[in-house]
């Protein structure tokens, strides 16, 4: 593409009060995998005025497109998952008293559950994950981790008729901001959803932006698989949130397994269990960040996975990379992120997209 015709470069979208308000609504909404309707409604309301086309596919993914205006545009798919980890009521053990057995949906550690307030079903009916008080706990029991089987969700007599087996539940945490930090449940991946909404509203003119707000990521990247097949993009980028395990170690030794660190900018993926990122895209993101003076970090190669794992293998293959906002305590009742990391993620993705051309793929991977 000839650079002569490229339009005046626009500024990256701002993350201000309105964006924080949107993130608050998104994180307070409940959307456990398979039941993403509440977040989907917010997404649809936000993006509808800004896209050329939007539809909800058979699995519940929101697929929207916004065409650019310059010549020779790449079709770029951006994916952020709407779903979050949570629980599902599996058995009503005490119909009068409202005591339910439950199972977990997605990656949840049983050690994070006891004593946590939860919200159940579309009505956000309050409940609590009960546990035996310490007075009555034996020494042996104290040493053994609690299993999900031994825990119950207690909704109380009045509310037991408002929920039913099969309903999903989330942690009841409400969004808050304390200084430089944002605290909420489901920052994984409402940060990505909020980022993608901003990008849709401010789509660069040099690409065709294909937005996929995906379902069922937390149970195995299921929504992104059909979304990428349907959209058939030239490039795909997963926008997600990844753990920052950056606390000091208990013995003061060097922390070598931090995954990412808060405050050091968006995390660019090289390798996780599901994807080996396209090296051309890694290089492009790093060079873009350096040139624009945007901080970035390389996520430590390791396990885990994002929607990239499903996207890059669709059809005859799609160059793919992931970018995450780091967050502490993900998949627990309360996660923490830095506002600056979110801002820098929006800035990096926007800047990269606005400079992305097919030249990047003239050299083979």
């Amino acid at each position: 593409m000839s650079s002569q015709t490229s339009p005046q470069e626009k500024q990256a979208p701002r993350v201000g009060a309105a964006q924080l308000k949107l993130l608050e609504r998104l994180t307070n909404a409940c959307a456990v995998s398979g039941d993403e309707g509440e977040v989907r409604q917010i997404v649809l309301d936000e993006i509808r005025p800004h896209v050329d086309e939007v539809k909800v596919d058979h699995l519940g993914n929101v697929l929207a497109s916004k065409a650019g205006s310059t010549q020779d545009r790449l079709r770029v798919m951006l994916a952020a998952h709407m779903d979050e980890i949570g629980f599902m009521l599996t058995q009503n053990e005490d119909k009068e008293g409202g005591i339910f057995r439950f199972g977990v949906v997605g990656g949840v550690s049983p050690s994070h559950l006891a004593g946590q307030p939860v919200l159940i079903g579309k009505g956000h009916v309050p409940g609590v994950i009960g546990a035996k008080p310490v007075h009555l706990t034996t020494n042996d029991e104290l040493r053994t981790p609690l299993s999900v089987d031994s825990l119950r969700i207690d909704v109380g007599p009045g509310n037991s008729s408002k929920v039913k087996v099969g309903d999903r539940a989330t942690f009841a945490t409400r969004f808050s901001r304390t200084g430089a930090s944002l605290r909420a449940k489901a920052l994984d991946d409402r940060l990505g959803v909020a980022t993608l909404i901003e990008l849709v509203k401010n789509a660069p003119a040099n690409i065709d932006l294909l937005a996929a707000f995906t379902v069922q990521e937390e149970v195995g990247l299921r929504g992104a698989k059909v979304a990428a097949y349907a959209l058939e993009p030239d490039v795909a980028i997963a926008l997600d949130s990844t753990p920052a395990n950056d606390l000091p170690t208990w013995d003061g030794s060097e922390n070598t397994r931090y995954n990412t660190r808060l405050g050091e900018g968006p995390a660019i993926y090289v390798a996780d269990a599901a994807t080996l990122s396209d090296p051309r895209l890694i290089r492009f993101l790093v060079e873009t960040a350096l040139a624009a003076g945007i901080p970035y970090q390389i996520r430590q190669p390791g396990g885990g996975g994002t929607d990239a794992g499903a996207m890059h293998k669709q059809r005859a293959g799609i160059p793919t990379v992931s970018i995450s906002v780091p967050g502490r305590y993900l998949h627990t009742p309360l996660s923490i992120t830095r506002l600056s990391d979110w801002k820098n993620t929006v800035a990096l993705v926007y800047t990269a997209l606005s400079q992305l051309t097919s030249d990047l793929f003239k050299v083979d991977r």
Partner: protein
């Protein structure tokens, strides 16, 4: 052919980073094929021939990538912590030498494990590249490396890192060289990212949309002291795969391979592999499903830095493959 094998095993190509080995392979296939392309994930695809009325569109796959390592952290003293790419076994690592794609070489060290009864973990190891401090270390987080070990020609037996699956690559190229007047349109695919879950073959097969698929890869053997219980041994011929953990080979394909070997008096053995899988799995599950099978080269010490194959098996694999592809395919 031996010099070709040596060239391939001495070229690094960890999964996801196959561009260097691809260049070496491309130089070999370019003069032999009708068309050579590279797809979005980096698969090298060489097409030979056009289908005649009794021919088929056939995909052959041998993977270019090898297992390797990737840096996760450079500590304050310049030691490189790492994790694995593909099925690297921890017990094969300590004392091993590695080469990063940026040229940096190093040796794998291990923490003091006195008093630890369990086997060492990758997390307890590090790569020493000779740097005294973080700032002197030429490795960055995300840099990739492969094992380094000289190629060894023991006469009949050949030993090297990445025989899995550069030996398959060599077999495919030799087949491409020898094939003449095939009724088929044959796609020789040198696939990427097999070791991390047959990812390259997945997209290559979708793009090619073949009527028949064969992987050429290594398989384990049961012929070493207290080895795994397995029928396959070195030197008894290439192995015709019946089953592995990822695929039940199409019985019609298995029969066709056996018939062809018998007719040409090529030694062969039947293979049932309890663990592991090949690109054939990805081909088989493509689109509406594809009849698929696998021709295996028996290999000792798979996924160690010293993988051993028998040269007769290699040559017989080429003979069988050329025989299979020179005639119309009759699946019954």
């Amino acid at each position: 052919m031996k010099s070709l094998i040596q060239k391939f095993v001495e070229t690094p190509g960890p999964s996801g980073y196959e561009s260097i080995i691809r260049q070496v392979i491309r130089a070999e296939v370019e003069p032999l094929a009708d068309q050579v392309t590279v797809d979005a994930l980096g698969n090298l695809i060489a097409r030979k021939g056009t289908p005649s009325s009794n021919g088929m569109k056939i995909m052959l796959a041998a993977h270019m990538d090898e297992i390797g390592l990737i840096a996760t952290h450079i500590d304050e003293n310049g030691f490189v912590r790492f994790t694995t790419i593909g099925g690297v076994r921890a017990y094969n690592c300590p004392g091993g030498r590695v080469r990063f794609l940026n040229g940096t070489r190093g040796v794998i060290g291990i923490e003091n494990l006195e008093g630890q009864s369990s086997p060492p973990l990758i997390d307890q190891m590090f790569i020493d590249v000779g740097a005294g401090a973080r700032k002197d270390c030429s490795v960055r987080v995300g840099d990739v490396a492969v094992f380094e070990r000289p190629y060894l020609d023991l006469g009949k037996r050949l030993v090297a890192k990445s025989m899995d699956d550069r030996i398959g690559v060599a077999v495919l190229i030799e087949t491409l060289r020898q094939i003449d007047n095939s009724p088929h349109e044959i796609y020789f695919v040198f696939s990427v990212q097999e070791e991390v879950g047959v990812r390259g073959a997945t997209t290559a097969a979708y793009g090619i949309d073949p009527q028949l698929g064969l992987a050429v890869d290594v398989t384990g053997t049961g012929d070493t002291p207290k080895g795994i219980k397995m029928e396959v041994g070195l030197g008894k011929g290439p192995a015709i795969k019946v089953r592995d953990a990822g695929m039940l080979a199409d019985p019609r394909v298995v029969d066709w391979m056996v018939r062809t070997a018998e007719a040409s008096k090529i030694p062969y053995q039947m293979e049932i592999l309890e663990r592991g899988g090949t690109d054939a799995r990805a081909i088989q599950l493509t689109r509406l499903g594809v009849p698929a099978g696998c021709l295996s080269i028996p290999c000792r010490y798979v996924h160690s830095p010293s993988e051993m194959v028998d040269f007769d098996d290699v040559e017989n694999a080429v003979r069988l493959l050329v025989g299979l592809l020179s005639q119309p395919v009759d699946l019954k």
